[in-house]
C-alpha cells in the first residue's frame, strides 16, 4: 500500500497568539508543532502500512519555508518520520503564512501525482491555525478521488475501505473505493509519541524536495486583528426566573449554542 500523509506546522494550541502587524502573527515565542489531527492521521497511516506488510510505505508531505536552516515544514516531516513513516517530500514555499488552502491543495496534488499510483491520502480534518477544513476535500477533488472528512474509523480490505465519519449528531459508515482521501478526526487513532530511537532513525530517512510553481492566491488575508474584547461579566439575574434571559444571551450574544 502506498499512503501519503499531508501535514502542516501549526502553532502549539497553548501558544499565545499576538497579532497587530498586518496579516502576520508575531512569531516570537510561538512554538510550532505537528497538528494534533495530522498526528492522528500519521499514526493511522503507519498502522495501516504495518498491517499491509511488504512493499507498503508511508510518505509524509508538507509545504513550507525552506530557508532558515531546518524549516518548520521539514521538522514536521521529521516528526512523522519519527513516528515511523518511511520518507518525506518537502514542497518549498517562500510565502508560507496565510497561503491559500486551494494553492496548498494544488501543490500537494502535484507532488502526489508526481509519485504515480497511490492508495490513500491522509490529512488532518483541520489545521488548528487557519481552521480552514479545506485541504483534504480540495485535494480529493483535484486528484479526482473520493473523500471522507472527519473520519473516526477506517478499515481497509483490498481496494475498498470501510470508513466511519463523525458527522453532526450522527455517525455514517461509508464504503469507499481506493484510492481516496481521508481527513482525520482525533478518534481515528490513539495519540502516539515518538520513541527516541525512531527520532534518531528519522534523521537518516530521505526527504525529497518537490518544486512547485505557486499560483496567485484566490483567497487573501489582508489583516489579522486581535479578538474583540469580551464584555465584562454580568449577573443575569437571581433565581430560576433569570434562566430565559440567560438562554437568550447564550444564543444571541455569546453565540455559544448551536440551536
Amino acid at each position: 500500500m502506498k499512503i501519503f500523509v499531508c501535514v502542516k506546522p501549526v502553532p502549539d494550541t497553548a501558544a499565545k497568539i499576538k497579532v497587530g502587524g498586518g496579516a502576520s502573527i508575531d512569531p516570537a515565542g510561538v512554538k510550532f508543532v505537528l497538528g494534533p489531527y495530522d498526528s492522528r492521521a500519521a499514526s493511522k497511516a503507519i498502522a495501516l502500512r504495518d498491517a499491509a506488510g511488504d512493499g507498503s510505505e508511508v510518505v509524509a508531505v508538507a509545504a513550507g519555508n525552506p530557508n532558515k536552516g531546518e524549516s518548520e515544514a521539514r521538522k514536521r516531516i521529521k516528526d512523522v518520520l519519527a513516528l515511523g513513516a518511511d520518507r518525506g517530500i518537502l514542497i518549498p514555499d517562500e510565502s508560507y503564512e496565510n497561503r491559500d488552502p486551494l494553492a496548498v491543495a494544488k501543490a500537494l496534488a502535484a507532488a502526489i501525482k508526481n509519485e504515480g499510483e497511490f492508495d490513500l491520502v491522509f490529512t488532518g480534518r483541520q489545521a488548528v491555525d487557519d481552521q480552514a477544513f479545506s485541504v483534504g476535500p480540495m485535494l480529493a477533488t483535484l486528484l479526482g478521488v473520493p473523500c471522507v472528512t472527519d473520519v473516526v474509523g477506517l478499515e481497509v480490505d483490498g481496494k475498498t475501505a470501510t470508513v466511519k465519519r463523525a458527522a453532526e449528531g450522527r455517525v455514517e459508515v461509508l464504503s469507499v473505493n481506493l484510492p481516496c482521501v481521508i481527513t482525520a478526526q482525533r478518534d481515528l487513532a490513539e495519540e502516539q509519541y515518538p520513541k527516541l530511537k525512531e527520532i534518531l532513525k528519522a534523521n537518516k530517512k530521505k526527504i525529497d524536495t518537490f518544486s512547485f510553481e505557486w499560483p496567485a492566491p484566490a483567497y487573501r488575508v489582508t489583516e489579522l486583528s486581535p479578538p474583540p474584547e469580551p464584555a465584562a461579566g454580568k449577573i443575569v439575574g437571581e433565581g430560576p426566573d433569570a434562566v430565559p434571559e440567560l438562554v437568550r444571551l447564550l444564543r444571541e450574544e455569546a453565540k455559544a449554542l448551536s440551536f
Partner: protein
C-alpha cells in the same frame, strides 16, 4: 447591478438546518444591498427535503432548485459535491453561500476546488462593496480574526451558524424546480452504508465543546443527575471540582483544575462551584463561562461571563427545560 447568489441549503433530520436558513437570509440582505438580483437555493436530499424546499422562500430565496431523490437522502460528500458543482456551473453565481456545519465544511472546499475559485471558510461577518465581499473569520481557535477577500468569482463562503440573523419578516414560498442529476449511486466511488445517531458517549473533557461542571454545592453524588440531564440537552460533558472528586462523588477523570484537566471549551457551566484558584486554573480560558451559585460573592462570578445567583436545585432544572424548548423551537 443584478447579482446572482447561490445558497446550498442543508436539510437534515427532517428540516432545514438553522444555519441554512441564516445563509438564505444573508443572501437576501446582500442582494438588496447590491440593488437587486436573485437568490437561488439548492436543496439536495430525499422526498422530505423536496417537500420543504419551497419554504426557503420565507427567508428570502427567489427560487429553489431541488436535486432530490431517495438515494440522496443521506449526506455523501462525493455525491452532494458533484451536484453542487454542477449547479454552480449552471447558475454561474457571483457568490455561493453554505452554512459552516460539518457537512458544509466538507462540501464547500470541493466546490471551490472544482471551480478553481477562492473559498473563505467559517465566516462570522460579511461586508459587501458591490459584489465584492470583505469577510471576517476567526483563526487560531478565536485568538485572532482575519480579514479576508476572495479574488475570484464566485466567491465561495461558508458562514458560521448563529453568526448572521434570520430574516426579520418572513416572505412566502419560493417556486421550486428540479435540478437534474446526471449520475446515479453506482457512478460513485463511495457509498453510505449506514447512518446511526451519534452515541450518547460523551466527548472527553479536554475535547468537549461544552462542559457542565459541578461542585460541592450539589450536596451529594446523586444530585449530579441534574447536571447529566442538562448535559444531555447540550451534548455536553460533565466535569467536577476537586472537592467532589476527593469526596468520591465523581471519578478523578472528571476533575477540572490544577491537578485535573485543563479545559478550554466554547461554553463552560460552573454549577455550585465557588471558584477556588485551583479550579480556575483549569477552566478560565473557556470561551464563555456561566456560573450558577447561591453566594453572590463567590469568586467564580469574577471570571464568569454570565452569572445567575440562586439555588442551583431550582435554576438547573429550569435551565434544562428552557434549553429543551429552545432546541425544539
Amino acid at each position: 447591478m443584478a447579482s446572482k447568489i447561490l445558497v446550498v441549503a442543508e436539510f437534515r433530520g427532517g428540516k432545514f438546518k438553522k444555519g441554512a436558513l441564516e445563509c438564505v437570509a444573508e443572501a437576501a440582505r446582500l442582494k438588496n444591498s447590491m440593488g437587486g438580483g436573485e437568490v437561488t437555493a439548492l436543496v439536495i436530499g430525499g422526498a422530505a427535503a423536496k417537500q420543504a424546499a419551497a419554504s426557503l422562500g420565507k427567508q428570502g430565496a427567489d427560487r429553489v432548485l431541488c436535486a432530490c431523490a431517495d438515494w440522496l437522502e443521506h449526506f455523501n460528500g462525493d455525491a452532494y459535491g458533484r451536484i453542487a458543482v454542477a449547479a454552480a456551473k449552471a447558475e454561474a453565481p457571483s457568490v455561493l453561500f453554505i452554512s459552516a456545519t460539518l457537512d458544509g465544511k466538507d462540501l464547500a472546499p470541493r466546490i471551490a476546488a472544482a471551480l478553481d475559485v477562492g473559498y473563505a471558510p467559517d465566516v462570522t461577518k460579511l461586508v459587501a462593496d458591490g459584489e465584492k465581499l470583505t469577510l471576517t473569520r476567526p483563526l487560531y481557535a478565536g485568538k485572532a480574526y482575519a480579514t479576508v477577500v476572495l479574488e475570484t468569482s464566485p466567491q465561495v463562503v461558508s458562514i458560521r451558524p448563529n453568526a448572521v440573523p434570520l430574516a426579520e419578516s418572513e416572505g412566502g414560498d419560493a417556486p421550486v424546480s428540479d435540478f437534474a442529476v446526471d449520475f446515479g449511486p453506482d457512478d460513485l466511488a463511495s457509498k453510505v452504508s449506514s447512518v446511526e445517531a451519534a452515541k450518547s458517549e460523551k466527548a472527553d473533557l479536554t475535547e468537549a465543546e461544552i462542559i457542565v461542571s459541578g461542585g460541592r454545592g450539589l450536596k451529594g453524588p446523586e444530585n449530579f443527575q441534574l447536571l447529566e440531564e442538562l448535559a444531555d440537552v447540550l451534548g455536553a460533558t460533565v466535569g467536577a471540582s476537586r472537592a467532589v472528586v476527593d469526596a468520591g462523588w465523581r471519578p478523578h477523570s472528571d476533575q477540572v483544575g490544577q491537578t485535573g484537566k485543563t479545559v478550554s471549551p466554547n461554553l463552560y457551566f460552573a454549577i455550585g462551584i465557588s471558584g477556588a484558584i485551583q479550579h480556575l486554573a483549569g477552566m478560565s480560558t473557556s470561551k464563555t463561562i456561566v456560573a450558577i451559585n447561591k453566594d453572590p460573592e463567590a469568586p467564580i462570578f469574577k471570571v464568569a461571563d454570565y452569572g445567575i445567583v440562586g439555588d442551583l436545585f431550582e435554576v438547573v432544572p429550569r435551565l434544562t427545560e428552557e434549553l429543551k424548548k429552545a432546541k425544539a423551537g
